[in-house]
């Protein structure tokens, strides 16, 4: 298992590097910008009011002034950045077994003494490590830049938020893994999951704007992604994180059940 793990992790280097760079740069720049936001809070709030609330809701900006740390970090950093970062990284990592099956590379480890489930467990392990690294990089960028300039954010609360970032990412990864091994086609699995996530995003926006569709939002992975209470009050969204964890584990267990018995036809 160990050679497969290291090789798979090595294959994830570029993904972690480039997606991580995007996350670090975006989060870092936004944190560096925060003192200016604080100094010009009234002007910023007036500017934000110009935009239609539907547009703001689409980007997760629903309540609170921009100078509020919880609103700023949640809406302008996490809500903007993390759905894209988590989706791209989780889909790329979780569809790898399908890509390897199509290319024939999967034949190499699976013609050795390595059982199928061990192989899948290794790829899941790499998903977990890679997504944890991306979560940690994002949190580290926020904390580092915040400490370098005027410290405005509670480091412990940002770290707690990082746990929720990770939980959301593995939920997407778990579901995508199940799709990927069921279809054994990276393009179809990635396209399908991307489509599902976009529909979920819209569902969440519609649910936020129209109370009559409020319950529909519960079907969206993004409904449970609100980090303002963590940043402002230090209240960790344990229920939401647990739900993400359940989805992730259910996805991986389903993937294992499918992968164990399915044909590996290329």
């Amino acid at each position: 298992m160990i050679p497969v793990f290291w090789l798979d992790l090595r294959r994830s280097r570029s993904l972690i590097l480039w997606v991580g760079l995007v996350a670090v740069l975006y989060a870092g720049v936004m944190v560096a910008f925060y003192p200016s936001v604080l100094a010009n809070a009234e002007e910023f709030d007036r500017m934000v009011e110009i935009y239609p609330k539907e547009l703001l809701a689409a980007f997760g900006i629903t309540d609170g002034g921009i100078s509020d740390p919880g609103t700023y970090v949640n809406s302008y950093i996490f809500q903007f950045l993390w759905p894209v970062v988590a989706s791209v990284a989780a889909i790329a990592l979780a569809t790898r077994p399908a890509a390897d099956a199509t290319s024939g590379f999967l034949d190499l480890p699976l013609s050795s003494r390595l059982p199928r489930l061990d192989y899948l467990a290794v790829t899941i392990g790499v998903q977990v490590v890679s997504l944890a690294m991306l979560s940690a990089l994002t949190v580290a960028a926020i904390v580092a830049v915040d400490l370098l300039i005027e410290p405005d954010f509670d480091t412990g609360r940002i770290a707690l938020a990082g746990l929720h970032l990770f939980a959301m990412a593995i939920a997407i990864a778990g579901a995508t893994t199940a799709l990927a091994v069921a279809l054994l086609d990276r393009g179809r699995a990635a396209g399908l999951m991307a489509g599902i996530l976009m529909i979920m995003y819209l569902l969440n926006v519609v649910a936020g704007l129209a109370p009559e569709f409020g319950d529909l939002g519960r079907l969206s992975v993004f409904y449970y992604f609100d980090l303002q209470p963590v940043i402002d009050d230090g209240v960790f969204p344990a229920g939401e994180s647990l739900l993400y964890l359940v989805v992730a584990v259910a996805g991986w267990v389903s993937a294992a059940a499918i992968f164990r018995r399915r044909d590996l036809a290329t």
Binding site: I2, P3, V4, L7, R11, D100, S103, G104, F105, D107, L108, P109, L110, S111, S112, R113, L114, P115, R116, R261, R262, D263, L264, A265
Partner: protein, 335 residues
């Protein structure tokens, strides 16, 4: 003698599509078993079922007693496998790729070096920069780097140049001499003739024959094109295993079944300007062995005489037997 591979009634269907049907097979310890068949006949499906990549629809296969589906990892510990088109990670060097496979198989790092040297594979080059032949060498090297009792090879020499093919055959011979078993799927009849003791022939998913190479050689046809210095005597080609496809004053295109020596002895009595003997490809042999029989009642000539026609043979207009049409149809279908 122990059966290394044992398949009983092995069937794999993909919904309504045929995969393999009722394949019974026993590959014995220490033999090199050739597995012949045209494209789409079911060779790769059979191999993938043996490797536990595909679940049999019915029937059962074992490798040294280990069930190929239920006990696949145990079976895999007993074999080395190379696929027809091995896929590697382009950014790894050939050496890194081979080390990865070595570690998966419990072999030490660098276990591949002697095989790589024999096949003149540069392990420092990234796989994406390797030619198709060199990529194929990586697969062949990884198959030969261990000492597992069974080697399963799916068209391992496609893309290798003739010198490397010869080296490959030498390596197969050494493996056989060491008492290990080789299951060699191939299109290349000459390769199978040189390497194998027995062959199984699969066609349209069914194992239609398991025979010795000697019997296969005896039954298969060769195409002979002759240019003579002077007109040939009328009875020159009157031999029981020779059929004249076309003949003019100084040119002749013959089909010879089995032993060519009687014909060569006849040719030694006349002045021959040029002679070219070629082996038919596997598909032509299948058509001859299995469909040709069906057409025999029509009195047709030997089918598939265009299989490997040497240059200069101008027989197109003269091939008019029903067997010829059959050959063409069969080839289209097989491909």
């Amino acid at each position: 003698m122990t059966s290394v591979i044992q398949a009983d009634g092995l069937t794999k269907s993909y919904g309504s599509r045929r995969g393999i049907v009722d394949v019974d097979l026993a590959v014995l310890e220490g033999e090199v078993f050739g597995f012949l068949g045209p494209n789409g006949a079911g060779k790769t499906t059979t191999i993938r079922v043996l490797l536990g990549f595909l679940r049999p629809t019915s029937g059962r296969a074992t490798i040294l007693g280990q069930d190929c589906w239920r006990e696949a990892p145990r079976a895999h510990a007993l074999l080395a496998y190379v696929s027809a088109e091995p896929a590697y990670l382009g950014h790894l060097t050939a050496g890194e790729q081979l080390d990865y496979m070595a570690r998966l198989r419990g072999l030490p790092r660098g276990a591949w070096r002697s095989a790589a040297e024999r096949l003149e594979l540069d392990p420092t080059v990234a796989v994406r920069k390797l030619s198709r032949g060199n990529r194929q060498k990586v697969g062949v090297v990884q198959a030969f780097m261990g000492d597992e009792p069974l080697l399963i090879m799916d068209e391992p020499t496609s893309g290798l140049d003739p010198l490397m093919q010869r080296e490959f055959l030498a390596m197969v011979a050494e493996v056989r001499a060491a008492g290990r078993t080789v299951f060699l799927s191939s299109h290349n009849l000459q390769e199978v003739e040189r390497a194998c003791s027995r062959v199984g022939i699969i066609r349209e998913g069914r194992l239609v024959d398991v025979t010795t190479v000697r019997d296969l050689q005896a039954s298969h046809w060769r195409s002979v094109n002759l240019v003579l210095q002077s007109p040939a005597p009328e009875t020159l080609f009157d031999l029981p295993n020779v059929q004249v496809v076309s003949a003019s004053a100084r040119d002749a295109h013959l089909m010879v079944q089995g032993d060519v020596n009687p014909l060569l002895r006849r040719l030694a009595t006349i002045d021959v300007a040029d002679v070219a003997i070629s082996t038919l490809d596997v598909e032509d042999i299948f058509l001859r062995l299995y469909e040709g029989d069906r057409e025999a009642g029509d009195g047709s000539g030997p089918p598939g005489s265009d299989g490997h026609r040497p240059s200069g043979g101008n027989v197109e207009g003269e091939r008019n037997g029903p067997g010829e049409e059959l050959a063409g149809r069969g080839r289209e279908r097989a491909r």
